[in-house]
């Protein structure tokens, strides 16, 4: 999407652009327009109302034509505002680039100076400069520009520091270019968008500031008038003749508001983060847009997913993260979901409780029956009551998933009290008990620690304790051990297994590590490109994987005591989720693939007791078939 296109799509910015252009053109044409002389006084005609005696906007306290003064004043205000923005941007950017490019003590000295200037209350500094130079429009311009230089210098320096260490700058240096040339040909082109953003968001402010100084009588001096001094002169007649104040004031407002609209549009168009819509916040519940929900099944199941489809809609593209997943979890059972990153395992797990970030996530089909109740499309209130109470989550990285500014104790107490209101003291006792149950050493003393004060393993124990807070029926653990080192990982796994047995918990355990599955899970589902490609009892699949992908995935896991075995990485990459191929998504990387693999829809087929596989030519066939 090109820059102008983006700008044009933003209707408000476009409106701002049109108004700014109109006013600019009028300001440029002012000397050619058939206007009365703005400075000719005629006290007999003072304070004419608008449309009185041919004066469209009336006259001011000296009988001067307001329309003419408005045009000339706008011209002056715009010129001064843009000039000071240009001066501030040029000097500020130069300082910023020099500081950022050279680094070291140059940077240090310059930036300390900039910090000093920024320590001033903004307008105070401008007043001091005008006080020194004396009142006058030129001096006001200098003051406003000077006050804004630190802002530009600091912004541009930040960007330049990032660029100065990039490869293309190193390359230019190696090719023997001088610093000045590198700055002009390599650094400057990359900094210009930032300069433009900074300018477009500050020029309105600078017009306000120069108008302000003129309003105070420190800017343009009579008879010459910009909008600010027109307002300043009109103030004494505010109550008797308000139109003389409203005319210049409204003009300033119109100019600044349209410049700000345009500036916001430019910033949005140039800021790459906004293009992908990354700045939208996730809603409390994933968006559901599905047709007929499928009927619930498997009454003995605690959780039954059926035909679950979750997609990400971004920039008119559709990423099919999960496309038709069926999975059953019985009470007290541990089911593993395994797959590479991007295979849709986390999205499947988050879809259950509507925790997929949305936008961009949308659940487009399927159902998730928990104890017979469909959670997909359930009211937010229903979901919220179940979340953390009957279905709890443990997430991957406990440093980013625990709130950094609350103590672990506070977070545990909250988890309890949000579902079971009770006095804080009792909740606290309960929470300490939870920490004990996850074998958290010195639970009492460390109750008031912040997450960043704990080790990774301890933090994950807190995460697990929080999941246990309300004695849930099901825990969904989304790679809970991936961020931990191996010995800690083993301890956490042992803990989970013990808890599962003690409490009769059902667990969905998501991982990319077959070793972990082997230790913990009764059954395992293998996911690839948003679909389950094989499912069955863990032992059976570990002993004889049926899907070539499963076999390859297992070959990636090193085993102790088998040093001679070759570890084989799977060649190629998973398919892109916004353009899934026909047939088997793994075909491109599969050594057994034939043309038949690349057409139609390959269904999950029964292979043996409790085992299914999505492959027309599996690694082995059940006795009795084919």
């Amino acid at each position: 999407m090109n820059f102008l296109g983006l700008l044009a799509r933003n209707r408000l910015a476009l409106l701002g652009l049109v108004v700014v252009l109109m006013i600019t053109v009028l300001a440029l044409l002012t000397p050619l327009l058939p206007l009365a002389d703005p400075d000719v006084t005629n006290t007999a005609n003072r304070f004419k109302r608008p449309f009185e005696d041919g004066a469209i906007l009336g006259t001011d306290h000296l009988g001067r034509d307001l329309l003419s003064r408005l045009f000339w004043g706008s011209r002056l205000s715009l010129a001064v505002g843009f000039a000071s923005a240009l001066v501030a941007a040029t000097i500020g950017a130069t300082i910023g680039i020099i500081a950022g490019f050279h680094g070291g003590w140059t940077d240090n000295v310059i930036m300390r100076g900039v910090d000093m200037l920024m320590a001033f209350p903004y307008i105070l500094l401008a007043l001091a400069i005008v006080a020194a130079l004396g009142p006058g429009l030129m001096n006001a311009l200098i003051a406003v520009a000077a006050v804004n230089i630190p802002f530009f210098a600091r912004n541009i320096r930040g960007v330049t520091v990032g660029i100065a260490h990039r490869e293309f700058v190193d390359a230019a240096r190696l090719s023997g270019m001088g610093n000045t040339r590198i700055i002009l040909t390599e650094v400057l082109p990359n900094v210009i968008p930032v300069i433009i953003i900074a300018m477009s968001t500050t020029v309105g402010w600078m017009i306000l500031e120069t108008a302000g100084l003129s309003f105070l009588g420190l800017g343009s001096q009579p008879p010459q008038a910009d909008l600010g001094s027109m307002l300043g002169e009109a103030r004494s007649a505010l109550i008797t003749n308000p139109h003389t104040s409203v005319v210049p004031g409204a003009m300033i407002l119109i100019i600044v508001i349209s410049i700000n609209l345009l500036g916001d549009g430019i910033r949005d168009a140039l800021d790459p983060r906004l293009k992908s819509g990354a700045l939208s916040r996730p809603m409390p519940r994933t968006l559901v847009r599905r047709g007929e929900p499928s009927a619930g099944k498997g009454s003995s199941a605690l959780l039954a997913l059926s035909g679950l489809e979750t997609q990400f809609h971004a920039n008119s593209r559709v990423y099919r993260a999960v496309s038709g997943v069926d999975l059953v979890v019985r009470p007290g059972e541990c089911v593993g979901i395994i797959g590479e990153s991007g295979s849709g395992k986390s999205v499947t797990a988050l879809s259950v409780m509507g925790l997929v970030a949305s936008p961009p996530g949308v659940i487009t089909a399927g159902s998730a029956h928990f104890s017979g109740q469909d959670l997909i499309g359930a009211e937010y209130g229903t979901l919220r009551r179940l979340r953390g109470d009957r279905v709890a989550y443990v997430f991957q990285d406990p440093l980013s998933t625990l709130h950094p500014l609350y103590t672990v104790g506070e977070q545990l107490v909250e988890a309890v009290r949000v579902h079971h209101p009770m006095p804080k003291v009792r909740a606290r006792e309960h929470a300490v008990g939870l920490l004990h149950s996850v074998r958290f050493p010195n639970a009492k003393e460390r109750f008031d620690s912040y997450p960043h004060e704990l080790s990774g393993g301890m933090r994950q124990r807190v995460g697990i304790a929080m999941a246990l807070a309300n004695d849930p029926d099901l825990i969904i653990a989304d790679e809970p051990t991936t961020a931990l080192d191996v010995t800690v990982q083993a301890r956490i796994l042992t803990l989970l297994r013990e808890l599962q047995r003690e409490r009769g918990l059902a667990i969905i355990f998501i991982t990319h590590d077959f070793g972990v599955i082997a230790q913990l899970c009764d059954r395992v589902a293998v996911m690839y490109a948003g679909r389950i490609v094989e499912e069955g009892p863990t032992d059976a699949i570990l002993k004889s994987p049926a899907h070539p992908y499963t076999a390859r995935l297992m070959a990636c896991v090193p085993e102790l005591g088998q040093e001679r075995r070759r570890l084989t990485a799977i060649p190629g990459l998973p398919p892109v989720l916004d353009d899934l191929p026909d047939g088997c998504a793994f075909a491109e990387r599969c050594h057994r693939a034939t043309d038949a693999c690349r057409v139609g829809n390959i269904a999950l087929a029964g292979l043996a007791t409790e085992r299914v596989v999505r492959c027309i030519d599996p690694e082995f066939r059940a006795a009795g078939t084919a």
């Binding site: 300390r112 307008i123 105070l216 308000p242 300033i252 988890a415």
Partner: protein, 315 residues
């Protein structure tokens, strides 16, 4: 904690020195002869020379700065010739009234701005978000002096809800209710721009935080959406909002000058403008240094507040 405060206090010293140097240099740039400005153009050369000697203006720049700084530290800001009064006395008196105005505004804009930003973020793309975004745009685009004049027309002249200007009634008692009715309009007008800026930044800070993993954790725990927004997200967003509040405090403090002029509020800003127009340099110099120093100390308090909020920087 005490160690942290002490460290920040010490680090404020070079900033204060830097400010004094900048102000001194700006004032030293003044073209022409200050003694001439004081005595007027009919002064005899002997008198000018004598005054220059009395003011110490015949000495080299560095020496003059050191003398000036030494006097400042002892509380001697010089004497205002236009008011015939010690600069510090005048500044202190005026600063109190500005502080009342700016402080009230600051409380208003912090509370309004942060709440508006948080609501807009929580209701992103909904009507409330659009309405807030529009009002905010209006707020940051309108010159406060123009807004002030329009408010006077509407609320003081037409509706007669508030007095037109000043800090106290000319006749009548100087009680709290009189003060509040005089303070309301200027404090609101002064708060408008800062409210807009704070709301904008709060909105984007909240949007940033709401995408974090720990927000998903809070939701997975079953925390009410209200709690997610106001307890979890806002607390984390405050870490980046508080520095903005510090900057805006400076804008409110110095932006008070326009409001003081429009509403005839006897504050330090109006004093500075008068002093500039009368070329009373010592008064300008003293006023600027004093207000800037207060602002530095305020920012120090902001840093301390920041560290109270965020345990990770308290070391």
């Amino acid at each position: 904690m005490a160690g942290y405060i002490l460290k920040r206090l010490v680090s404020a010293i070079p900033v204060l020195l830097g400010i004094s140097i900048i102000v001194f240099l700006i004032m030293a740039m003044i073209p022409g002869d200050p003694a001439m400005a004081i005595l007027g153009s009919y002064a005899t050369p002997e008198n000018v020379e004598k005054l220059n000697r009395d003011l110490g203006l015949d000495k080299p720049l560095v020496q003059r700065y050191l003398i000036w700084l030494g006097n400042l530290v002892q509380g001697d800001f010089g004497r205002s010739f236009s008011l015939n009064r010690a600069v510090l006395d005048e500044v202190l008196e005026r600063f109190n009234t500005t502080l009342l105005l700016a402080g009230t505004s600051f409380v208003i804009c912090s509370i309004l701005g942060v709440s508006a930003g948080a609501i807009a973020a929580a209701r992103q793309f909904a009507l409330a978000d659009k309405a807030i975004t529009f009002v905010v745009l209006l707020g940051i685009s309108i010159p406060s002096f123009f807004l002030g004049m329009m408010m006077i027309l509407l609320f003081s002249v037409n509706l007669r809800w508030f007095p037109v200007s000043g800090m106290w009634p000319i006749y009548g008692t100087r009680d709290l209710s009189a003060l509040v009715s005089h303070l309301t309009l200027p404090a609101l007008v002064l708060a408008v721009v800062a409210t807009g800026v704070i709301a904008r930044l709060s909105r984007s800070a909240m949007l940033e935080v709401l995408r974090q993993d720990f927000i998903r954790t809070a939701r997975a725990k079953g925390v009410h959406e209200r709690g997610v927004i106001w307890r979890h997200a806002l607390r984390a967003a405050m870490v980046s909002i508080i520095p903005v509040l510090g900057v805006q405090a400076g804008f409110v403090l110095s932006g008070a000058v326009y409001v003081e002029i429009v509403f005839q509020w006897p504050g330090v800003g109006r004093m500075l403008v008068d002093a500039i127009l009368k070329r009373d340099i010592l008064l300008v110099q003293g006023g600027v240094v004093f207000v800037a120093a207060c602002y530095v100390m305020f920012n120090l308090a902001v840093d301390v507040a920041q560290s109270l909020l965020d345990p990770r920087i308290r070391t």
